[in-house]
């Protein structure tokens, strides 16, 4: 499974990726067009970016060929999420033209980084029809990201920042679980996710996504992987950045990093079937790799102390 063997590699390359470079081949066309554009546009156009992850650069030409072969059935030729399979899918395929993505390391309202898109592509989106594209080569996945970015002008006009920092995780403890529970109550997560995390809060049945289609909140008790990754760092990022395009808001301005980690620890206790689902799937996880384990021990300590 890619997450197991490549996660360290990905982390290393995430650290290696520096500032992205301007996209050379677009500029001559823009220079000709510029006089006809409103005055505000050209300065924004200078953000135009190349897709580059580590030392691999994405090719638009190859990306288009791959897209037409693998993605077009659901996401459509125009990238608007209206491919011929779209009516049969729930949730519906992403509309790339809006430039709005769930899984980001950037603050709410901002475009994702290339690495965010690359990781989503490799991971797939759990509980949706989007599979993992890890079977494609690294180069092919980066080519696809380069092409997918052309559907929205946002990728030429905006920068993928600010990135939400994820500080090192403090150890889980009975105290941090109790503090996490208080934060769960104060942030009123239960409004949608329910008191026990079943996704059955009072507002759950009324939720709609940004295209006004019904959408359900995550049910923690299934123990299923989150859409945007399964590590504690991913969980931290999910509620701090928010899942744009869905009702899940960003809590970045409401929570300090320590509080956010307490909440992560508490949320893991709601995933009662986490270990089971991990073992039933294709993933063979070693005990050390099970994020819930240390927290579950802490939880036992809490219930034992009462």
């Amino acid at each position: 499974m890619w997450t197991e063997r490549s996660i360290e590699h990905e982390k290393a390359s995430r650290a290696r990726v520096g500032r992205l470079r301007p996209q050379a081949f677009r500029l001559p066309v823009l220079a000709i067009l510029a006089p006809f554009l409103p005055a505000t546009l050209p300065s924004a156009v200078c953000f135009a970016q190349q897709t580059r992850i580590g030392n691999v650069t994405g090719s638009l030409k190859r990306g288009k060929e791959l897209y037409r072969r693998y993605c077009v059935g659901c996401h459509g030729v125009l990238g608007n999420g209206q491919g011929e399979n779209a009516p049969y899918l729930d949730p519906r395929p992403r509309d790339f033209t809006a430039g709005v993505f769930k899984c980001r390391s950037t603050d709410t309202g901002h475009i994702p980084t290339d690495m965010d898109l690359y990781e989503t592509l490799g991971r797939g989106l759990h509980a949706s029809a989007m599979p993992s594209w890890f079977p494609l080569t690294r180069q092919q996945r980066i080519d696809l990201i380069a092409y997918v970015k052309t559907f929205s002008p946002r990728f030429h006009e905006e920068k993928p920042e600010p990135v939400v920092p994820v500080p090192p995780e403090p150890p889980a403890s009975p105290e941090s679980l109790n503090r996490g529970l208080e934060i769960f109550k104060k942030m009123e997560c239960a409004k949608c996710h329910g008191l026990s995390g079943r996704g059955d809060g009072p507002s759950a049945s009324t939720l709609t996504d940004s295209k006004d289609r019904p959408i359900v909140p995550y049910d923690f008790t299934t123990g299923e992987r989150f859409k945007c990754g399964q590590t504690n760092q991913d969980l931290y990022r999910i509620f701090m950045t928010g899942l744009d395009g869905t009702p899940m808001p960003s809590y970045l301005k409401d929570l300090k990093p320590d509080q956010a980690w307490d909440l992560v620890h508490y949320l893991r206790t709601l995933q009662m079937n986490y270990e089971n689902s991990a073992n039933n799937g294709a993933v063979k996880t070693s005990p050390a790799r099970q994020p819930g384990r240390s927290i579950r021990n802490a939880l036992r300590a809490v219930s034992g102390s009462k």
Binding site: P22, A34, V45, P202, S203, L207, G242, P249, S250
Partner: protein
């Protein structure tokens, strides 16, 4: 290096091709590259008028806030939906009147005062706000419950922030013109308001009397539009002479507009 030089060239080319000159004003070049229009005060005109509804106004329906007991408690009787708020003589509240064509081609600095939306009694107040691009928007939560503020723009960044009770106001802004951005609170599905963003200062939201007033208009030919969330947009042409005060009324016809 070469690329950054190209960028500078494209910026320069576009500024030169869009000279921000207009009738009735002169343009002064300030320090740096900002171009600020200087309009003589005595030369400007004013446009006032009413926005009305032709025929009986649909009545608001009581909002069912049962999903949130705190919201129910905040109101002695259930509040009514605010899609159509009509006054005496069919005047319409929450309509936006603005210049849609003929705005002097120059940049307008946003006012330094923020526009404030308050969440109170599980409703947004006011229901319709208008501001200039890059002007600060402040969102206040006065309720003892959490809200999430989720604008759904088509031409601006879509963001979604939670605001539990007792936290400081959120500050955001919108970069591009858009009329009007619907705003949701996903936790409370009945909550909705609209934010209109203009690149110029010539707009007015009608209050309880349905009246609007556009001030400091440089003389010229304009298309004036009135927007309403339920009834759509009406446009009229008008010519403003130097120092002139004109009146202009907009009458929405519900059936004709709603069938569109």
């Amino acid at each position: 290096m070469k690329r950054s030089r190209l960028c500078v060239l494209t910026i320069a080319a576009s500024i030169l091709s869009n000279p921000p000159l207009h009738k009735g004003g002169t343009v002064s070049e300030e320090a740096g590259q900002t171009l600020v229009p200087v309009v003589r005060a005595e030369a400007t005109g004013t446009l006032t008028g009413l926005v009305k509804l032709d025929g009986p106004a649909p009545k608001g329906k009581p909002i069912n806030m049962a999903k949130e007991p705190i919201c129910v408690k905040a109101h002695p009787t259930p509040p009514l939906t605010e899609e159509v708020v009509a006054g005496a003589n069919g005047t319409l509240q929450n309509a936006i009147v603005y210049i849609s064509e003929g705005v002097p081609n120059s940049t307008f600095d946003p006012p330094s005062d923020p526009v404030v939306i308050e969440q109170k009694g599980c409703q947004f107040h006011p229901h319709v706000v208008a501001l200039q691009s890059n002007q600060k928007l402040q969102v206040v939560n006065s309720d003892p419950t959490s809200h999430n503020i989720h604008p759904l723009p088509s031409n601006n960044r879509e963001w979604n922030r939670s605001q539990p009770p007792g936290l400081p106001p959120l500050e955001e802004s919108f970069a591009r013109e858009e009329i009007a951005i619907p705003v949701k609170c996903n936790i409370h599905a009945w909550m909705r308001c609209y934010i209109a963003v203009f690149k110029h200062p010539y707009f007015s939201v009608t209050g309880a009397t349905g009246s609007f007033s556009l001030k400091n208009l440089p003389p010229g030919n304009y298309a004036i539009a009135a927007w309403h969330e339920k009834f759509g947009t009406l446009t009229q042409k008008v010519t403003i002479a130097a120092g002139e005060t004109k009146t202009l009324d907009f009458v929405f016809k519900p059936r004709a507009n709603m069938s569109e």
